[in-house]
């Protein structure tokens, strides 16, 4: 493996893509060189300091495993494949949608992604096709000092229905970068469920952007579970672009050690008669840090918007710190918008109640946090997805009752 400074020489070493993609990649490389590392002086990056971040990594591809739950996708006309392969087989779709929701020149890191990404997941569901069982991609990274550029491009055509689980995992590493982009196109009347489970090991810096565009009378439901990485900045954005659209964004995260989470969300109401509902719940222990900043943006003309944004945080240690910063920007006059946020320790009355039943404090806290997250999972209707998420949470919280004993 060669050390990679993301320079001209490294760029030339990349396998060549199809002509239109190669052009996009070249342009992204120029943007990457021109753009500065995001500064904490900007509003977008004020909670995450990357000023000392060294952009030197080993060239390495994560291993990617796709599972179809045994469904015959070809028969349905569904394409579920490597993104580079799809660039050949389904060139028109890839070229029409890749980097349209998250353009390469958004930040230095999206440009880096655009220039150096190889692989990724392409998922296309044709018109009115319903995929019964969840499809899943596992992106696994196990090389120290590696940079990975996971990309998911999901296109649900008109009236299509699909559930997709994006899973990211690694062992603890000395240092690694996950520079990830998820683009989801929810066609008119389509129903898309998107679940991301981020379980990177310690040492990983995760910079992820997820953006969905929801069409007319379409439904987008997302669940983000974030447990891993030393530093995780996760942006989740939904654009309600067609009248009558619906978006649900659920989030569950748990931070320990010195983990730093910077969660940002956008509910962007462009079209009228849309509703969006966001609920993020986080728990923190040790000396971890989490910031949630959310925006509800109602554009002029997005009348009859119904938008809600809720962030709840339990802080289990006096050295941990959480902030929740809601923002509403409303440019229409006939709307219903609300937000709620809370940050606080675990309820002492509840702890005493559990203790009085023989449950030691650490175990009581584990149970309370499990229940706190359960309220989010209860909103996930698909049993298989909920069960998956419950297992991930149980595993993450299992150590809370042993390691947490004071």
């Amino acid at each position: 493996m060669t050390s990679l400074w993301f320079d001209e020489a490294a760029f030339e070493l990349l396998p060549k893509a199809t002509e239109p993609l190669q052009r996009m990649r070249k342009q992204a490389f120029e943007e990457f060189r021109a753009l500065p590392i995001p500064s904490q002086e900007t509003e977008e990056w004020r909670y995450t300091d990357l000023s000392d971040f060294e952009l030197s990594f080993e060239a390495h591809l994560p291993s990617v495993m796709r599972t179809t739950s045994g469904q015959d996708l070809d028969g349905l006309g569904v394409v579920f494949s490597d993104l580079d392969r799809a660039a050949g087989s389904d060139a028109e779709l890839v070229e029409r949608y890749l980097h349209t929701l998250v353009p390469t020149d958004r930040t230095k890191f999206t440009a880096l992604h655009g220039a150096f990404r190889t692989g990724g997941t392409f998922l296309y569901i044709p018109r009115d096709v319903r995929v019964e069982l969840p499809l899943q991609t596992l992106t696994y990274l196990d090389a120290d000092g590696a940079a990975a550029f996971p990309h998911t491009l999901l296109i649900a055509d008109e009236g299509a229905e699909v559930t997709f689980i994006d899973r990211f995992a690694s062992p603890d590493l000395a240092r690694a970068l996950s520079d990830a982009i998820v683009e989801i196109v929810v066609g008119d009347g389509a129903h898309v469920r998107y679940v991301s489970i981020q379980e990177w090991g310690a040492g990983v810096t995760h910079l992820g952007i997820q953006r969905a565009r929801v069409g007319r009378d379409a439904e987008f439901r997302s669940l983000a579970i974030g447990f891993g990485a030393s530093l995780a900045r996760a942006e989740a954005e939904t654009v309600l672009a067609g009248a009558g659209g619906f978006s649900e964004m659920l989030g569950v995260f748990f931070a320990d050690g010195t983990q730093h989470f910077d969660h940002r969300s956008v509910q962007d109401h462009v079209a009228p008669n849309c509703s969006s509902d966001l609920l993020y719940k986080g728990a923190l222990r040790d000396a971890s840090r989490a910031v949630y900043s959310g925006w509800v943006h109602v554009r002029p003309g997005a009348q009859k918007t119904d938008a809600m944004q809720t962030s709840r945080n339990i802080v289990l240690s006096e050295h941990a710190k959480a902030d929740a910063i809601p923002n509403l920007e409303i440019e229409a006059n006939d709307v219903r918008c609300g937000h709620a946020a809370s940050v606080g320790p675990v309820d002492e009355e509840t702890v005493f109640y559990l203790e009085s039943r023989g449950i030691p404090r650490a175990e009581a806290e584990r149970l309370i946090v499990t229940g706190f997250f359960q309220e989010v999972l209860d909103r996930v209707r698909l049993d298989e997805v909920r069960h998956n998420a419950e297992l991930a949470i149980q595993e993450e919280l299992a150590e809370l009752s042993t390691a947490g004993v004071a």
Partner: protein, 271 residues
Amino acid sequence: MTQNDATAPATLEVKGLRAAVGDREILRGIDLTVQQGQIHALMGPNGSGKSTLSNVIMGRPGYRILEGSVTFNGEDITLLPPDQRAKRGLFLAMQYPTEVPGVSVVNFLRTAYQAIKGEQISALAFRKHMKTQMDRLGIEDAMVQRYVNQGFSGGEKKRNEVLQLAVLEPTLAILDETDSGLDIDSLKLVAESVNELAGPELGVLIITHYQRMLNYITPGFVHVMMLGKIVKSGGPELAHELEDKGYEGVRRELGIEAHEEVDEGPDEGVA
């Protein structure tokens, strides 16, 4: 000090107990002994310190012991965390049971059962044990699938407390105003459940303002508490005497000023 004699009945002994919330002394010297197999009723007007006593015995934070002792089976428990007191066989049915969002009654009880017994039990074996207790108390399946106390009616909350008592099998249970906030049907149901559970294996301390629960449960010992002290003790006849004369009658008899009654601890407004 610890009694190791397995055949001796479990014994809760409170001696000369004085306790405060903040700077306010609420318990002013309590002496009380309750044994496994006995039923005691501790009666008193609002603010007499009844709930404070139960909270101090169970170790709720926010109370300060000034003097005296609380021992269980000869062991001083005042420095033990609440879960250790439960593990030794104490149980407190709360006056205001707390909601535990997202945690089902069955999950909650299995976790508690395993902690108290110090052993793992399969979900199936636990369900069987719990079902036996539910049948005894006439509790329907739906209740134990719900989240602990969330959306429960007053009666359901109290019945859930009694179910926990049955499942966790303590040797000594304190029922703190388990009769409060119940309509007559619920009260009867809860009282019958307590009667079902009372017996040689269980000591019960019923804390109540009213005599009405004692229409269904006959205590062997009745104590009257006022101003942080037990001012009178007797047999079951004392409950009837109170019913006739009221607390005012006892005050007159003992020469106690009514207006000295104080507000009680954290669960009555401080927290």
